[in-house]
């Protein structure tokens, strides 16, 4: 009898511990919707902010966030694809594979503030791009590189060997093999990687807060060299400086939109994945 009691109570405790995780998500979602919901309106979504964020909407901030993350994904995509193809199709050297794998995981574990600091020195000062949209995109592109690369590589490694063999038996050379076998059969990995990379870029603040963004004054970048306003930094400034509740409500509204963007991207990636390989695992 005693063993049964132990079994039952242990299971109960474990279930409660697990449930806490799920509750946390509900709690976070609930709080953001509850606090940010009142701020939402068409005007909030499609108007410029005014009076230092105390009034108006977040139109330009939303566009800025979208611009930054799309730019980052566009820059990162070819590099990630190239790295993944090189690792799976071209190099035979185990040492090269090992070193690259180590580096990709290190890059992924890197604190994002360091991307901001060094990215600013390298792009902003050394390559003279300044505090700008371009600098932000480049920094975020490097930051999301591991996410894209790992996702693409897993898709390529998941291609059944017989497709490859069929390609070879047809006399395809490396390039033709890549173009007509590898890429068509691993596109889902690319899309998944891009979606998760976009989500990561959208949620990032530390790497762009002093390298790519501006709080007010600028609507949209007129050129590559202009800074952009973003949702992330908008929330940060409002949260740090706000004394009145109107500004905080605006911050919660912006947080709700940001959370919505990120969750949509992640949910789409769920649909594309045959196998559950989690971003949190990286």
């Amino acid at each position: 009898m005693k063993r049964e009691v132990v079994e039952k109570s242990a299971l109960g405790v474990l279930a409660i511990l697990t449930g806490t995780g799920v509750l946390l998500l509900l709690l976070i979602l609930g709080s953001v919707i509850w606090k940010g919901g009142p701020a939402l309106s068409w005007e909030f979504l499609f108007e410029a902010s005014s009076d230092f964020g105390n009034a108006g909407g977040i139109y330009y901030q939303t566009v800025g966030t979208l611009l930054l993350m799309l730019g980052a994904a566009l820059i990162s995509m070819p590099i990630a694809l190239g790295t993944a193809l090189y690792l799976t199709e071209y190099t035979q050297s185990e040492t090269v594979k090992k070193v690259l794998r180590n580096l990709i995981y290190s890059l992924n574990a890197m604190p994002t503030i360091l991307f901001g600091l060094v990215g600013y020195l390298f792009f902003g000062v050394f390559l003279n791009t300044g505090v700008s949209w371009l600098t932000g995109m480049l920094i975020l592109a490097v930051m999301i590189l591991p996410t894209l690369q790992v996702s693409i590589q897993e898709a390529i490694e998941g291609i059944p060997e017989k497709y490859r063999e069929t390609g070879m038996s047809l006399g395809l050379d490396h390039l033709a093999q890549v173009r007509s076998v590898i890429i068509p059969h691993s596109w889902h990995g690319m899309i998944t990687g891009v979606l998760l990379g976009l989500a990561r870029a959208a949620g990032e603040t530390a790497a762009i807060m002093f390298t790519a963004t501006t709080f007010s004054g600028i609507l949209l970048p007129q050129s590559w060299a202009d800074p952009v306003p973003t949702l992330q930094t908008h929330i940060l400034v409002l949260a740090q400086d706000a004394v009145n509740s109107a500004a905080l409500t605006k911050a919660w509204g912006a947080a709700l939109i940001l959370l919505f963007i990120v969750f949509i991207l992640i949910s789409f990636s769920f649909l594309l994945r045959g196998r559950l390989k989690m971003e949190a695992e990286l």
Binding site: E4, E7, L11, V13, L14, A15, T18, G21, V22, L24, L25, S31, V32, T83, Y86, T91, V99, L100, R101, N102, I104, Y105, S106, L107, A109, M110, P111, T112, I113, L114, G116, L117, V118, L121, F122, L145, A199, R200, A202, G203, T205, A206, M209, F210, Q232, I235, L236, A239, L248, A255, L258, L259, V262, F263, L265, I266, S267, F270, E279, A280
Partner: protein, 272 residues
């Protein structure tokens, strides 16, 4: 293309090394041990280093029961459908932007900590640790769950055939096999916690001192990333102050890289 990602990682290290060199020449090892950070006079990073380890430690202590209990329950006792639910929830949680965690921490968690422990100010080292714990839960739970899943089914069948109950089976066969993976998961979670900037910056209080006594975590403190986030913008190109911040960056880099390498080795994702 592949070379480009090597260049990225190498550049970060070289820049940190080059830019932080002056402060190590100026302050010597005192940079790491003293905790007097007065811009323009002296730069001792002790309180930031202490704060970083403290918040990470608190985060781990608070979240480990939930993370490990959750991993065991998800891996061993849930149906595949529910496993998928838990893993999806964890992925969404991992995707919540740091700034949203920061906003939640600042306007809710800090207030609860303040009233719950009767403090004057809710922005403390403890609050930051608690928030970080929540933030690293998905990392630890997902990775340890994978470590538990990768224990072969025969072990479980053998244990059950010997008449063990399911809990006894998990405790005496599955968990011991998964220990290296779980340790790896914890290391990677620590790396995450150590490097988080925005959320910590908003709730830690931002005071460059080691609390007295040192274990009094209900006081304001400072971690390395939060210091960087607060001061980097104003210090760019301003001589020794900037070098000192880069010295902090280098310290952070080395600690996080060590944790990540160790974690990945335990997870057998990379071999040295």
């Amino acid at each position: 293309m592949a070379a480009l990602s090597v260049v990225c990682a190498g550049t970060i290290f070289l820049y940190l090394l080059r830019e932080s060199a002056p402060v190590f020449f100026a302050e010597g090892s005192g940079f790491l041990t003293r905790s007097d950070w007065w811009v323009g006079e002296s730069y001792g990073a002790g309180s930031m280093i202490f704060g970083s380890f403290m918040v990470t430690g608190i985060a781990l202590i608070i979240i480990l029961p939930f993370a490990l209990g959750g991993a065991v329950f998800t891996s061993e006792f849930l149906s595949p459908r529910w496993r998928l639910v838990i893993k999806s929830v964890m992925e969404l949680l991992a995707g919540v932007p740091g700034i949203v965690y920061g906003l939640l921490g600042m306007s809710m968690l800090a207030v609860w900590v303040k009233s719950g422990f009767g403090l004057i100010d809710g922005n403390t080292i403890f609050t930051a640790g608690l928030l970080l714990g929540i933030m690293i839960l998905p990392t630890i739970i997902t990775l340890s769950e994978d470590a538990l899943r990768s224990v072969p089914g025969e072990y479980r069948e053998t244990a059950l055939a010997l008449g063990l109950t399911r809990i006894e089976m998990v405790w005496s066969t599955v968990i011991p096999q998964a220990v290296p993976g779980i340790i790896g998961a914890i290391f990677l979670g620590m790396g995450r916690a150590m490097g988080e900037t925005i959320a910590v910056m908003l709730v830690i209080g931002g005071l460059d001192k080691i609390p007295a006594p040192w274990f009094d975590v209900f006081q304001a403190g400072q971690s390395i990333p939060s210091k960087l986030g607060r001061e980097a913008a104003e210090a760019i190109g301003s001589g020794l102050h900037w070098n000192a911040l880069m010295g902090l960056g280098l310290t952070l880099f080395l600690v996080v890289m060590t944790l990540s390498m160790a974690g990945n080795m335990f997870l057998k994702r990379v071999r040295m």
